[in-house]
Amino acid sequence: MNGLSDRNFFLSAVVLYGVSTLYSALLWRRGFRRDNRVIYLLILAALGLHTVAMMKRGFSLSRCPVNNLYEATIFALWGIAASYVVIGLWRRLRFLGAFASPLLFAAGVFALMPGLDAQGPQTQDARVWGSVHAALVLLAYGAFGLSSVAALMYLSAEHDLKRDKLRAAFTLLPPIQRLELAIGRSVAVGFVLLTVGLLVGAVSLHQSKTTYAAPDAKVIWSAVVWLAYLVLLVLRVRHAQTGRRFAWSALGSFAFILLTFWSSNLLSRIHHP
C-alpha cells in the first residue's frame, strides 16, 4: 500500500469507475426497472480508493489538496461519488449510479493527464482570492454537471414515454416535470456561482498585479461559457423553451465545458504559467 502513490490510487479508482460505466450500459438497456447493488458496490469500492488518493496527497502537502487542476478535479469528483454513495442508501435511487459512472470515468481520465498536475507560484493575496475563485467556479461547474445528469435522465425518460411506452411504465426514473425543474434550478445556481466566481477571479488577477499583453484563452473561454448559460436561462424564462430543447441545451453546454476545460487551462498563461 505504502509503495503506491496517490495518483496510482486514483488511477485504480478510475478503472473501477470505468467498470461501473460498462455495467451502466446494461442498466440503460433494461430501463432502470430495479435497484442495482452491483453498480453501487463498484462506486463504493472506487470511492474508497479515491479517498485514499486524496488523503495521501493532502498529508504529503500538509494542506487541503485543491491547488491545481488535477487536485481540483479529483476533489469535485470525490464530492459526486460520495454524494451518490449516500443517496444510494435508498435502494430506489441506486440506479443514479448509471448516470454518475460515465461522468466520474470521463472526468477521471481527463484529470489523470500529466499536464494538469503542476504547481505554480502564487503570492499570498492572490492565493486567497484565487482559492475563493477556484472554489466558486468549481461549484458552478458541479451545478452544471448536475444539470447535465438531470438532462440525461430527462431525455432518457422522455424518449421512453414517447417511444418505448412499456419501459416508461416500469422505470424508476423520477417524473420528467421534476427533472425539468431540477435542470432549471441547477443551471440557475451554477450561473450565479459562475458569475460571482468570475468576478472574484477578476479581483484575484488585480491583486496579483500581473499584466498580460494578449487576451487570455481561459478568460475568453469563461466569458463564452457564462454567455452560453445566460442565453440558456433567458430562452427558458422569457420564451418558455420546451423541456426537451432545454435538456439538450444543458447537456450540450456541459459537454462543451468537459471537452474544452482542460485545453483552455493549458492554453491559459494565467492558469497554467
Binding site: R34, L161, K162, A168, A169, F170, Q177, A240
Partner: protein, 350 residues
C-alpha cells in the same frame, strides 16, 4: 394445538354466495365470543371482505372434527341452510398457515399482488386482539404473516406495475407530472372507461375535472358525479390552456384532435407537458401528435399492453413468493414439532 382455517373466497364461490356469508363489522366480535364460549376454538380471527370470508382458529380438538364443527358454526351463524360443499374450503397445519401467508401477500387475491387485503387482514386481527380472542398461536401466525407479506413486497416484484387500464393511465401521469395535485383533467365523451380513469386520477389528487360530450345532459350528469363541471362540446378548446390531462372516448368516426388543431393550443400552455389518453375505438386522437414536443399520447392498445406486461411480471414472481412462504413455514414448524407429520389438507366436498 393447530391453527386451522375454514372459509370461502372469490376462487370458490360466486358473489351471490359470498355476500350471504359475509359478516358486517359489528357482527364479528359477538361471533368470536360465541365461538370461544362454545369451546370450538381457543383463539379465533374472522376475516370478512368482499372477496373472502375466512375463520382462522386455534383449537385443541382433533383437526378433522374441529374443521367440521367450525364449518357448521359458520353456516349456522350466517343462517345458511345449504351445506356449501363445493364452495367452502378447510385445512389444518401446515396448509392453513401457508394459506394465511398467501392471502396476506396478495397471492390469493383477485388482483394478483394487491395490497388492500393486507390492510383488511390487519384490521380483522386487530378486532380479535382488542377483544381478547387471540393468544400465543394466532398472534404468532398473524405477526409472521404480516412480516412475510412485507418481505415479499420488498424482495419480489409481485406488486410492481398496474394491472388495470385506468391504473396504468394514472401511473403514466405520475411519470410525467411532479404531482397530480394541481392537474386539471378533461374527459371528452362520457364512456365508462374514461369515467373510471378520471375517478382514478381524482383519487390520486387531481384538482379538477371538466367533462364535454355531444350530449350536454350526459356531460352534465357525469360532471356532477365526478364533482367537476361540464362544457359544450364545440367549446372545449377554450379550456385548453388550463388542461394537463385529456381522456378521450367519443364514438366520432374521425380524429377529434390532430396536429393542426393541437399545435396552436400548445403555445397557450407555455410548453407544459400534456398527457393524452385515447380510449376510443376508432381512435379520437391522431397518433402524429405524439411527435409534438411536450405531448404524450397513449391509446387503448398501449395501456392494455402495459397492464398485460405487469400481470405477466407478477405471475412470473409467484414461484419466488411461494418459495419464500414455504421457507418461512418451515421456520415456524421446525422447532415446534420436529419429525411430526402435519395433518393432510381436509377439503370438504372438493
Amino acid at each position: 394445538m393447530p391453527v386451522v382455517v375454514v372459509g370461502l373466497s372469490h376462487r370458490t364461490a360466486s358473489v351471490a354466495v359470498r355476500e350471504r356469508l359475509a359478516f358486517a363489522q359489528d357482527a364479528i366480535p359477538p361471533a368470536l365470543q360465541r365461538l370461544r364460549e362454545t369451546g370450538l376454538a381457543t383463539e379465533a380471527v374472522i376475516l370478512s371482505t368482499c372477496n373472502r370470508v375466512e375463520l382462522y382458529a386455534a383449537t385443541d380438538r382433533e383437526p378433522a372434527a374441529a374443521l367440521e364443527a367450525l364449518r357448521r358454526f359458520l353456516l349456522e351463524t350466517r343462517a345458511l341452510a345449504e351445506p356449501l360443499t363445493t364452495e367452502l374450503y378447510a385445512c389444518g397445519e401446515p396448509e392453513s398457515l401457508e394459506h394465511l401467508f398467501r392471502v396476506a401477500s396478495g397471492l390469493d387475491s383477485m388482483v394478483l399482488g394487491e395490497t388492500e387485503i393486507l390492510g383488511q387482514m390487519k384490521k380483522a386481527y386487530e378486532v380479535a386482539l382488542q377483544a381478547g380472542h387471540t393468544g400465543r398461536l394466532l398472534n404468532k401466525a398473524f405477526q409472521r404473516a404480516f412480516n412475510v407479506a412485507k418481505h415479499i413486497r420488498t424482495h419480489t416484484s409481485i406488486q410492481r406495475g398496474n394491472v388495470s387500464v385506468s391504473s396504468v393511465a394514472v401511473d403514466l401521469a405520475e411519470h410525467i407530472f411532479a404531482s397530480l395535485a394541481e392537474r386539471t383533467v378533461m374527459v371528452i365523451g362520457a364512456g365508462e372507461m374514461s369515467e373510471k380513469t378520471a375517478r382514478s386520477l381524482l383519487s390520486r389528487g387531481a384538482r379538477g375535472i371538466v367533462v364535454t360530450n355531444r350530449s350536454v345532459e350526459r356531460a352534465a350528469a357525469l360532471a356532477t358525479e365526478l364533482g367537476g363541471r361540464a362544457v359544450p362540446f364545440d367549446q372545449w378548446a377554450a379550456e385548453f390552456a388550463q388542461l394537463d390531462i385529456i381522456i378521450s372516448s367519443t364514438s366520432a368516426p374521425g380524429y377529434v384532435l390532430d396536429c393542426a388543431r393541437l399545435e396552436p393550443l400548445l403555445k397557450l400552455r407555455r410548453h407544459q407537458p400534456l398527457l393524452l389518453i385515447d380510449i376510443a375505438v376508432p381512435r379520437d386522437i391522431d397518433p402524429e401528435v405524439n411527435l409534438l414536443d411536450d405531448v404524450f399520447l397513449y391509446n387503448i392498445d398501449d395501456l392494455q399492453m402495459i397492464a398485460a406486461d405487469a400481470l405477466r411480471q407478477r405471475q412470473e414472481e409467484i414461484a419466488r413468493c411461494e418459495a419464500i412462504i414455504r421457507e418461512k413455514i418451515r421456520g415456524i414448524l421446525a422447532p415446534a414439532a420436529p419429525g411430526a407429520s402435519p395433518d393432510p389438507k381436509l377439503a370438504y366436498g372438493a
